[in-house]
């Protein structure tokens, strides 16, 4: 079943002058068609201005498509009566951890969503307990967000969405402002939410390494989907990615270069372990020490 369906979506930003006349129209998305299956982990890649953040906002009905339709679990985002159910179904985490935490106490912030939804107090407490433990932040329950690191704040923001019991979470560059350890924690957290709780994840990023474990990678450029496939297939297309100014993980690039040099390595090697797995037999057979091995 599809949790997200975008059909022929067009979105434009209008720039108006002082007299409110349209000065310039920038097309952010054009003829975008994407469906995302329930329970999947999808990564959206693309450089700034490719339209990926706009797409994220459309999924949460924070913005409405100019043309075309967005369906969240079958609900049209234009349907005002469904607004709250859409946001309940498809939660959202933003880039800047400071600018999305509302309260001065972690637990109160996590409760904010359920409170807005009118959930009963006892149930809110249960949900907050559950959400904090899922992101591994129970120990910080009564702390102020100002005392937390960027990665911890971002996990609190994720807990705030989890407490709304969404079917899908859209994360708009949640790791862009974090240091490597914060990034690792956030990526691990969302992967667990996907595996253990079956929450659909739409992870928008420009860190290629984060896309390696996704079920599916969508690459966007100038408001369009230009690639849509498994990570392995996507990372086989090194030249194309470089042309889109996206680059590939170092190991993938090394494998690609070695392949160009004539080594029979498969395309789309993603991890060090994989590279070793293919490289070691080759080295044993054809490498410098090959004779010694045979002897």
């Amino acid at each position: 079943m599809n949790i997200i369906e975008a059909r022929q979506v067009l979105f434009e930003y209008e720039q108006r002058d002082e007299n409110d006349n349209i000065e310039e129209v920038n097309v952010a998305l054009s003829d975008m068609n994407v469906t995302i299956e329930k329970g999947s982990f999808v990564c959206i890649l693309g450089h700034n201005g490719s339209g990926k953040s706009t797409f994220a906002k459309l999924l949460n009905a924070l913005q409405l498509p100019k043309e075309g339709t967005i369906l969240i679990s079958g609900m049209d985002t234009r349907d005002e009566e469904k607004l709250l159910s859409i946001r309940k179904t498809c939660g959202m985490v933003f880039q800047n951890p400071d600018n999305q935490i509302i309260s001065n106490v972690v637990e109160e912030d996590v409760a904010f969503g359920p409170e807005n939804m009118g959930v009963e107090p006892d149930e809110i407490i249960r949900r907050v307990d559950d959400a904090l433990s899922k992101v591994g932040m129970e120990a910080y329950r009564y702390k102020s967000p100002n005392m937390l690191s960027g990665g911890q704040k971002q996990r609190v923001a994720i807990a705030g969405v989890v407490a709304m019991k969404p079917e899908c979470i859209v994360l708009d560059e949640p790791t862009a402002m974090l240091d490597p350890s914060g990034r690792r924690d956030v990526v691990r957290t969302i992967r667990e939410l996907n595996k253990k709780d079956g929450i659909t994840i739409v992870h928008i990023t420009h860190y290629m390494e984060e896309a390696v474990d996704a079920d599916r990678v969508i690459v966007m450029d100038s408001g369009k989907v230009v690639m849509d496939d498994t990570p392995r297939k996507i990372f086989s297309r090194v030249e194309e990615l470089k042309k889109l100014a996206l680059g590939v993980p170092q190991i993938t690039e090394l494998a690609y270069e070695l392949r160009k040099d004539g080594l029979p390595l498969p395309l789309g090697i993603l991890t060090r372990e994989e590279l070793m797995q293919y490289l070691v037999p080759l080295l044993r057979r054809y490498g410098k020490g090959a004779e010694r091995e045979d002897a």
Binding site: D98, N99, S103
Partner: protein
């Protein structure tokens, strides 16, 4: 340093004061502030001191932490003390040129200083022991009757609580922008008033822009989390008066009556 401002900060601790209903604390703070302006006698200040010190003890907030908050009002304190010290007429105790200090002056200045300090400590004690959300709830409930007159009580309360959350962030940001502009040769310290005011532009413009950007981001994040005003909103910990609050109100009434009575005392 700017970061030392503790007014509006919350200090988590497992204390009786923390557990009180925010409405009780609001009422208590109001009565306490009022009582400071009612009394003018040594006995009155003594009672207020006992009340304040025991409240601090009960709150389990370290004394040092509370005193740090006073740094923010040092200038105000110095100004008002010197005004009272030098400008109060009465029997001169000390004269040097145009400087004249009177016994009355010392007395008023002293009381003024104590009053100001107690005022700040009293109100920061409330914010230190009450989470901003609870405070918002308390205000919203206590002032709920004003909704009938078209006052957007929920919205105002929400704004207050968000402002409290962003004060430390913006303070830190001010510090950062100041340093960054200093690295570009900006000078915030020397020069006359006009030059100083002009020097603030490179600080204030980025600061305002940042505040606006944060506000826009936050509004979007709140909307994404189903915020749609106060209607239909529930609370994780709804306000309920408990046994503790009853006791607190009784103590408050006794305190306030005692303070009122000190006015009748002859000294």
């Amino acid at each position: 340093m700017l970061r030392d401002i503790t007014i509006g900060q919350y200090y988590p601790a497992p204390s009786v004061l923390h557990r009180l209903d925010p409405r009780t604390k609001l009422a208590g703070t109001m009565l306490y502030l009022l009582s400071l302006f009612m009394t003018d006698s040594v006995v009155g200040y003594a009672i207020a001191t006992v009340f304040l010190v025991s409240s601090i003890k009960l709150s389990k907030v370290p004394f040092r932490f509370i005193v740090k908050g006073l740094k923010a009002i040092i200038i105000l304190l110095v100004l008002s003390v010197s005004f009272n010290l030098f400008l109060t007429p009465g029997e001169p105790l000390f004269e040097f040129g145009f400087i004249r200090i009177t016994i009355e002056g010392i007395k008023t200045a002293g009381f003024m200083a104590i009053r100001l300090i107690y005022l700040v400590i009293g109100s920061s004690l409330m914010t230190l022991t009450t989470t901003p959300n609870a405070l918002t709830d308390g205000l919203e409930k206590s002032l709920g009757f004003m909704k009938r007159f078209g006052v957007p009580v929920h919205e105002i309360a929400m704004m207050m609580s968000i402002a409290l959350r962003f004060i430390p962030i913006l303070v830190e940001e001010t510090d950062k922008i100041m340093k960054a502009q200093t690295a570009r040769g900006a000078d915030f310290e020397s020069g006359g008033l006009v030059k100083k005011a002009k020097a603030m532009v490179p600080l204030l413009v980025p600061l305002f822009l940042s505040a606006f950007r944060r506000a826009a981001d936050l509004a979007m994040a709140m909307e994404a989390r189903c915020y749609h005003g106060g209607e239909g909103r529930t609370r994780m910990r709804p306000l309920r008066y408990g046994c503790l609050d009853k006791k607190a109100y009784i103590i408050l009434i006794i305190y306030f009556t005692a303070m009122a009575l000190t006015n009748l005392l002859p000294w």
